[in-house]
């Protein structure tokens, strides 16, 4: 969960907002180094909100490399028409030294 104060750009709303609240919940089943589950990613700001729900996977490839990927679609949203969301895709890599 993350609370953002003051005036900042948020891509999910596509503009600047005075504050923001982001809460991500990931419920997963683990097989050894792989975790697969459902991810709920919620965003709130003044008069707007959106929540993405979809599958996500995290894979610990080795002792020092992690991969993750996910896909989400809005399950509810109140966002100005110009910036309405239809989906999101995320992919990440982490390397430890």
């Amino acid at each position: 969960m993350l609370w953002v104060g003051s005036y900042a750009y948020t891509p999910v709303f596509g503009n600047y907002n005075n504050y923001g609240l982001n809460a991500e919940s990931f419920v997963a089943y683990k097989w050894d180094s792989l975790a697969v589950g459902l991810d709920l990613n919620q965003w709130y700001t003044e008069g707007s909100n959106v929540a993405f729900l979809g599958p996500k996977a995290e894979w610990k490839v080795s002792n020092n490399v992690d991969l993750n990927a996910g896909f989400g679609i809005p399950v509810w949203q109140e966002v100005n028409a110009a910036n309405e969301n239809s989906w999101n895709v995320t992919a990440g890599i982490g390397i430890k030294f």
Binding site: M1, L2, S6, P11, N64
Partner: protein, 148 residues
Amino acid sequence: MTRFFRYFAAVAAVVLAHSTFAQTASAPAPKASPAMFNSVSVDETLTFWGKKNVDTVTELDSTIKGKLYDLLGWHITVPVYSQDSTGYGAIDVGVDYALFTGEKFLGSVTNFSVEAGAWMPTGSAGYGTDNVNPHVGFNYDMTWGSVV
């Protein structure tokens, strides 16, 4: 006979020396103090935000993070956005602290940490900010089962 005692004394000395050496070698080594900067890692996260009525927003977050004295986590993130134009957003600098890790709670292994930081007044036109934007948050996870 004197020669025998000399020989016996020499053998005893060698045995004693080896015995002392063995004890010294098996003694636990003193624990090294953690380095000021440790557990350093680099994360790259690419996210596409699909929009109904405008172009997709592409976000690339580059993060370097680690620990100070194995105690306080720190991170620096530089986000880059691309839609009608491409530019970088405010640079995020923050710290986190694990209040508890690996605690048994409701049959699970639970971790809980708090974090705080700020987006610095930097960035390109359209994505940056003129203000220091503080943020606070927490991370919480519970894992059940034997695959912890």
